[in-house]
């Protein structure tokens, strides 16, 4: 058993050394053939990496939203009914309190109003979205003050004119200066800046730092105006859940509760919409998988072309070396020996191309990550996969020429010129 193994190992080593000699003999030809495989492996590896980079990017932006939560907003949703019984959506602070009280597994709720604002300070101005929130927003939406503080219960109670800026807004208005304690005019009213948020970067060109946060009560008083139906209305409610809580079950409970509170009848649609982070992940996951499949499929065409190049050159090699094949058979080579010799030669070509393609893909992935701010992760499994895949290309496309070589008759091969 051991002897058999070392024998076959030694036979493979011999084949590799025969292959190297043959490839060196036609160096230029070998390099050009390898180039085809290299480009193919490069394209496929990069496609896989870009695809999974997109996936990572999407997941990051969903995580930036807050990890385990449901978003409720007052927009009629056709799920669960057909008749349009509500011309406008409905979601109130009382609904939010009822949700917090009656549904299990909730960590925090974050009721919100949202409005576009214009900030002016010393001649500089910026426009951004203001989120009127409560202190609980920090937890649920996974944000925190980097300098200064977040809004407090007291701010909310007194409808204080305080604002927490996103880093992008702070930079636009103050450059490198510390804005804490400064006054900024928002839609002409003076506000005190009490904090600047930690950066959450950007995802897909969307700046997560371009926002401002102020107390929900302040927003209601100064900016909401006529856009709300009632003084208690909300434009958005984040409901944060403990880890491990089933969001699909939570969504069913939320729906039932809100339908009940709004006295929605069985055949009527919801005057509100509920979306969960779980749903976002699933949907975007599907989109990015399709994106990845399409990308890899296109890249595979170049690998196919590389493989055809391998087959072509192996057929030439077999024809050129027919006499050598005959000689080896005369000296005792079995059909399987000849077949393996040419298979190894094709596989060596492909693996060399595969390694070079992989190195190229690593370099490009690194450059993309660094300079284009787009994550292109090439993991160990992708690397090993690429090498095995290129070896497989060698075996598949080298297979026919190798079998053809092994089927030659010894004497006809030996007599050929």
């Amino acid at each position: 058993m051991i002897g058999n193994f070392t024998h076959s190992l030694s036979a493979w080593l011999v084949n590799i050394s025969i292959a190297m000699t043959a490839l060196r003999t036609n160096l230029m030809r070998s390099i050009l053939t390898t180039l085809g495989v290299m480009i193919g492996v490069f394209a496929v590896t990069l496609a896989v990496a870009v695809g999974s980079g997109a996936q990572v990017s999407v997941m990051q932006s969903i995580n930036a939203l807050g990890s385990n939560m449901a978003l409720v907003f007052p927009q009629p949703d056709s799920e669960g009914g057909s008749r349009s019984n509500f011309d406008r959506g409905r979601l109130t602070m009382r609904d939010a309190r009822a949700i917090e009280k009656q549904i299990d597994g909730i960590t925090q709720i974050a009721p919100q109003l949202r409005t576009n604002i214009q900030l002016v300070v010393a001649g500089r101005n910026a426009s951004t979205i203001a989120i009127g929130a409560t202190p609980g927003y920090a937890d649920v939406a996974n944000v925190a003050a980097d300098t200064g503080r977040f809004i407090s219960e007291a701010d909310v109670r007194s409808a204080a004119r305080v604002v927490v800026l996103g880093p992008s807004v702070a930079r636009k208005l103050f450059g490198g200066f510390d804005p804490i304690g400064e006054t900024v005019r928002i839609n002409r009213a003076p506000f005190t800046i009490v904090g600047v948020l930690e950066s959450k970067g950007s995802s897909f060109g969307n700046d997560n730092d371009d926002l401002a946060i102020m107390p929900i009560s302040t927003t209601r008083q100064r900016f909401a105006g006529d856009s709300l139906a009632g003084p208690d209305d909300l434009q958005m409610l984040f409901v944060g859940f403990e880890d491990g809580v089933s969001l699909s079950r939570a969504k069913r409970q939320l729906t039932a509760l809100l339908r009940d509170r709004n006295r929605v009848r069985d055949n009527e649609i919801n005057p509100f919409t509920i979306r969960t982070t779980e749903e976002f992940m699933k949907e975007t996951g599907q989109v990015t998988s399709i994106f990845q499949i399409v990308l890899v499929a296109i890249a595979s065409i170049s690998l196919l072309v590389g493989g055809i190049g391998i087959m072509n050159i192996m057929l030439v090699s077999v024809t050129e070396r027919t006499r050598e094949i005959g000689l080896r058979m005369a000296l005792g080579a079995k059909r399987s020996d000849i077949r393996n010799q040419f298979l190894v030669e094709a596989a060596v070509l492909c693996v060399i191309g595969g390694v070079m393609g992989l190195i190229l893909a690593f370099a490009s992935g690194f450059a993309l990550t660094k300079y284009a701010d787009f994550p292109v992760p090439i993991g160990l499994s992708v690397a090993i996969g690429a090498i095995l895949f290129s070896a497989a290309v060698g075996l598949i496309f080298g297979g026919y020429p190798a079998i053809r070589a092994s089927r030659l008759s010894p004497i006809e091969a030996l007599r050929s010129e």
């Binding site: 058979m329 005792g332 059909r335 020996d337 004497i411 030996l414």
Partner: protein, 236 residues
Amino acid sequence: MALVEVRDLVKNFILGDEIVRAVDGVSLSIDKGEYVAIMGASGSGKSTFMNMIGCLDVPTSGEVRIDDIATSEMDSDALAELRNQKIGFVFQQFNLLARTTALDNVAVPLIYAGLNTADRRDKAKAKLEEMGLGDRLDHSPAKLSGGQQQRVAIARALVTEPLILLADEPTGALDTKTSEDIMQIFESLNDAGITIIVVTHEEDIAQHAHRNIHFRDGKVIEDKPVIDRRSTKDDR
């Protein structure tokens, strides 16, 4: 006991709508230790006959027995093993692998015999030294003379210690002096017990053998012992 035994051996080639009877019903046997020269005009079927004895080609009909084994029942793997273990080939054009050292050329049959690298090197080196090429181990064929190349080829044929040495016009590409050297090697190999079958056009070369077989049109027309045998020893 007959080492090579041939019964009613026929080999036809079909060229267009014409059948060429290259070997046309040959029966003979060659004993262990014999030294046989096969003669005959060009196209008389000598090479075709040798190729069938060497199990490189399959007969149209008839039988070849090597060392008392019928080759007609063997598959291609078994024939490869038989060639590897029992038969050594020497060709007119040497057939060495280019860009490959003398040592590696001689070691080729040992790859297929399943020897490891160290053993292959040792045996190949020993054979080349026997052929007087101990100082040419790392030379590629292009850097060797014709006679040296043929000696490398002989070392390769002998490296698996075969029973039979088949040589199809081994001196055809060599000058007279070098041919004599090769004949001297054959003679000492035969003295050591190896059965030799050599195809040749040259009467001089044939006179070194014990037995001359003449072919004409695929048939044996004469099969006689050599009376006045020439030996390279006579020249000294």
